[in-house]
């Protein structure tokens, strides 16, 4: 038995060069990779594939996790039916997966409604707005305009419950992350770096540039839908004033 052979070997396909690779990631997870670099096209393929795989409800699959360019599939090996005695669960699931992937329409996750996210930019809520503007060679007003002008994709959720990665923004909005991460970033904070935005659903450590804050609750475990956003949603950031922020927050508190 050659221990160096197995883990990095992709499953072989009947068709030549399909636009993905299925590889194991430990003994209870596999990864479907669509591209080695993080571009929006690969991300859309990953999200479309994740939706299809979830809907297929394959035996043993417990979680389907779309990421920037990949889909992670967690599974219970004992629940995957084996087609042959020598087959291992990874191989069996990968070939089931291949059948599903061949049916994925690349554009099948294009049309979704736009969720508006009110954001109070700058000031106390966005302490890094001025620095970001300087780093991008823009004024703070231009940063706000570029950040809020168009609907944009929720590329994936990760890092914490309900924590979205949103992108990609105008190429001028590409400041690097902060050299020293903060140990505690307030819930609702809007981070910006490298043409992407994150929204902190709870108090967390974080290294992104904070340009504003939303009064919306991104995550509430007691809500019927605990997470406000999911991968594949489209959002638009809507600038609001400090007074509007306070009134939305008070309204949410009053509703509880």
């Amino acid at each position: 038995m050659n221990p160096h052979k197995d883990a990095s070997m992709p499953v072989e396909y009947a068709t030549a060069n399909p636009p993905w690779q299925i590889v194991p990631s430990g003994d209870r997870c596999l990864i479907i990779e669509f591209a080695a670099t993080a571009d929006l096209g690969a991300n859309r393929k990953a999200r479309a594939a994740a939706a299809k795989i979830s809907a297929a409800a394959l035996p043993g699959v417990t979680d389907v996790v779309p990421a920037l360019t990949t889909v992670g599939v967690h599974y219970r090996p004992c629940a995957v039916p084996l087609a042959a005695t020598k087959q291992i669960p990874f191989e069996a699931l990968a070939s089931l997966m291949e059948g599903v992937l061949h049916q994925v329409e690349p554009s099948s996750c294009a049309a979704s409604s736009v969720i508006e996210i009110p954001v109070c930019y700058g000031g106390e809520y966005g302490p890094d707005l001025e620095d970001v503007a300087a780093a991008c060679g823009l004024t703070p007003a231009q940063v706000i305009e570029l950040h809020s002008e168009a609907a944009i994709d929720v590329m994936m959720l990760g890092f914490a419950p309900g924590h979205p990665y949103v992108g990609r923004f105008d190429e001028r909005l590409a400041p690097p992350r902060r050299a020293t991460p903060r140990t505690a970033v307030a819930a609702g904070s809007i981070g910006l770096a490298n043409r992407q935005t994150v929204i902190y659903p709870m108090v967390l450590p974080g290294g992104w540039n904070l340009i504003g804050r939303t009064p919306l609750a991104l995550f509430d475990p007691d809500r019927e839908s605990p997470c406000l956003l999911a991968a594949g949603d489209r959002v638009r950031f809507v600038p609001i004033t400090v007074a509007q922020f306070a009134s939305i927050q008070a309204g949410a508190a009053g509703a509880q």
């Binding site: 038995m1 221990p3 197995d6 990864i31 967690h74 475990p221």
Partner: protein, 318 residues
């Protein structure tokens, strides 16, 4: 029909088989660190594997039973006693109403599991009773046990039940291994991005479990593992047992409360059947690793599953 927390212990949290189906929303899986001990405890008292058990860490709690109950304690030997008298580990034990279950000095392992026949009365959050302390949800109000907490039981024991003897003996020895044996791993997706020295170090040297190790992950300290060339890695799904390596070369082993995604190169993954041994390893102890292939890892996991299925079919009634 409940249990009162007299002393909470160092970190006592309710855990089950984990929070499945929400990882795409960034919601961690959580669940028992030592899944084998968790399942064994449940099987011993006739519970389904998915029932929550109390995961007790290092210094156990003192729990006053206001009703009679049948319990089992598995995993680490933290010197459990009922009404002051030592009780056997790994078997069902009857506790009389008014008796206190306590834990003493650690003899082996780190995490003990307490199952109560019928299960604890907890509310599911996103399909699981597992406590996620950092998220503040699950288990008992999203927190570790606190002094004065009252934990309901789903049913009272009506009569003494016969204890089942050590069904763990039904586990094939190649699954259990012994605590000092190398922890079996399979290659990670980025294995080939590491230098030949890094690969040799991982399987040839020992690593110390760092002080900053918890339910989220273990910091492993040893000779730094270096990439052959720097690489940009888009974040992607990670799992229980993933060994990722940040720029400083000190591996991080992801455990039950891990994040759902990670962007560090993954040099390897611990085989699922060996995760319980790591869950019982305390900071300061050393671990070593041995490479196996995926077929072997999955074969061991299927063997373990069959052993559990037999055990659970024999005992489960809920």
């Amino acid at each position: 029909m409940n249990i009162e927390v007299i002393k909470p212990g160092a970190l006592s949290t309710f855990q089950d088989l984990g929070r499945s189906g929400y990882q795409h929303l960034g919601v961690p899986a959580n669940g028992a660190m030592d899944e084998r001990a968790h399942r064994l405890a449940n099987a011993l008292v006739g519970n389904a594997a998915a029932r929550a058990t109390l995961e007790v860490t290092l210094m156990g709690p003192s729990l006053l039973f206001h009703c009679a109950a049948v319990i089992a304690v598995t995993g680490a030997d933290l010197d459990p006693t009922v009404a002051g008298a030592p009780i056997a580990m790994n078997r069902a034990v009857t506790v009389a109403a008014g008796a206190v279950l306590s834990f003493g000095k650690r003899r082996s392992g780190l995490r003990a599991y307490l199952a109560v026949r019928g299960g604890f009365a907890l509310t599911e959050v996103m399909g699981s009773c597992s406590t996620f302390v950092r998220g503040g949800y699950g288990g008992a109000h999203g927190k570790p046990l606190r002094k004065g907490d009252l934990i309901g039981l789903r049913e009272a024991a009506t009569s003494a039940h016969r204890g089942r003897d050590l069904p763990e003996l039904a586990m094939p020895p190649e699954i259990l291994a012994t605590m000092g044996d190398p922890v079996r791993i399979v290659q990670g997706r980025e294995w080939d991005y590491f230098t030949p020295e890094a690969k040799r170090t991982l399987v040839g040297e020992t690593f110390r479990v760092g002080a900053q190790s918890d339910r989220m992950g273990y910091r492993l300290e040893g000779t730094p593992l270096k990439l052959a060339a720097p690489r940009e890695m888009p974040s992607e799904a990670v799992g229980f047992g993933t060994i990722q390596v940040p720029a400083d070369g000190q591996p991080i082993l992801l455990m039950a409360d891990r994040q759902t995604t990670g962007g560090y190169p993954k040099i390897a993954h611990v085989c699922s059947v060996d995760l319980p041994r790591l869950a019982q390893t305390i900071p300061g102890e050393f671990v070593s690793f041995a490479l196996v292939d995926l077929a072997q890892a999955q074969r061991l996991l299927l063997l373990q599953e069959r052993a559990f299925a037999a055990m659970e079919n024999a005992t489960c009634r809920n």
